[in-house]
Assembly symmetry: C2
Homo-oligomer: 242 residues x 2
């Protein structure tokens, strides 16, 4: 029988080898790296079992000896790039600075792998690198004297914000992939529709905003830094109203 029975299990608990049988031609890591390479180059939708197998030069079904289901491949991919976080030996003692650095690193990783933000929500679990990351964050927050639950909220919020921000920025670019026309055309058409609607007069506030906006060109980096700063602020001070 090929592979193993489809039983409830986590990919991380499944041993890669059991010792018996011929030496595997590849490692789980080889397959994940190939998948990441494809996703980086052609988007996450280009990652199919057939395509990954082709990239490695093996038969499609051979992959199922290493990865039980495609969804597990996604989880492995997320874990792999989560390993790109560079976490120092010890937290600095300034939790605000540490968390800010983490947020910026996370954003950088998501720019390096434009598919990450989109699949993180669905393919995220307690993978080894996720645990390593979580442990690090908790270490950074040790000096902060709040309930443990609140620390988890903080971490989740910072991560979620990074993800939402980047996902939003990348939405149009990712959507344009595989469309029968170019990203520029897509953006032009959408912009034109927006203008036509606003010109209709039914959206006075929005019109006012658009009239004012061009004066202040957006700096994505600065906005991001500010957003994270605000977020951390909100955990630094007591809530005014519940």
């Amino acid at each position: 029988m090929a592979g193993r029975a489809a039983v409830p299990e986590v990919i991380w608990a499944r041993p890669e080898r059991t010792g018996r049988g011929p030496k595997p031609a590849y490692s789980r890591r080889d397959i994940v790296d190939a998948a990441v390479r494809i996703a980086d180059a052609d988007g996450i939708d280009a990652v199919s079992m057939r395509r990954v197998a082709a990239e490695l030069g093996c038969g499609t079904m051979s992959l199922y000896n290493y990865v039980p289901r495609k969804e597990d491949l996604y989880e492995l991919m997320v874990d792999a790039v989560s390993g790109e976080y560079e976490l120092p030996e010890e937290p600095s003692g300034d939790w605000r600075a540490d968390m800010t650095a983490i947020a910026h690193q996370g954003r950088a990783i998501m720019y390096r792998h434009p598919w990450l933000a989109r699949i993180m929500t669905t393919a995220y679990g307690f993978s080894p690198n996720a645990l390593r990351f979580l442990e690090w964050c908790l270490g950074c927050l040790a000096p902060l004297d709040v309930p443990a639950g609140l620390k988890m909220q903080l971490i989740a919020m910072v991560n979620g914000t990074v993800m939402a921000t980047v996902a939003n920025e990348q939405a149009i670019a990712e959507r344009a992939r595989g469309l029968p026309w170019s990203e520029a055309e897509e953006q032009a058409v959408r912009g034109a529709y927006l203008m036509s609607q606003v010109a209709g007069g039914r959206y006075p506030h929005l019109a006012g905003l658009l009239a004012e906006a061009p004066a202040a060109p957006v700096d994505a980096d600065e906005i991001f830094a500010m957003t994270i700063a605000r977020l951390l602020d909100s955990f630094d001070t007591p809530v005014t109203r519940a």
Copy 2:
């Protein structure tokens, strides 16, 4: 020829009828409603052109007379449920209260349609109901004396936070759909792996947190309310550090 040529265009700008030819048996709305019905019942992945057509009792390709591409169907679905926001005639004058209400409404909608949070990032544009929503938010924020760009940030952050929160809550449930085993088994297996890892002693902070956590059972509603309150706070006060 069936349908129209695949040219760059926004679904919202495409007229539903042109007058010539036989009366259509359905409306665009009929199709979107069927799709929403299917997604509510069986998840977004169950929404296929064939399935929607079957739900309506027509041929698959007939749908392409109403919707040029499947991705447009997603956009129509997001717009349709965005219409569920109940926006009063006039803002109350208290922008904090108004935005809080909006956030809670958004969360309720995402619970009603558990597929929404997942596809919102990819299938969100300036749809009619999105414009209506945005205009309303800007109206609520009129009393707030900050640059227009910051108001947009605030709206984006509130929306993004609602989305990220709900998406995170629903991740396991949505992931379990279509798996060869049950959601409970999935959660049990993942929990067991987490425990085994933490028991290994490599994650002291995490272990400490898990030891403390059961004492304080989480109240999702309360946490959400607090998160939004914190977020709004952060826009109410100047940033301490940039």
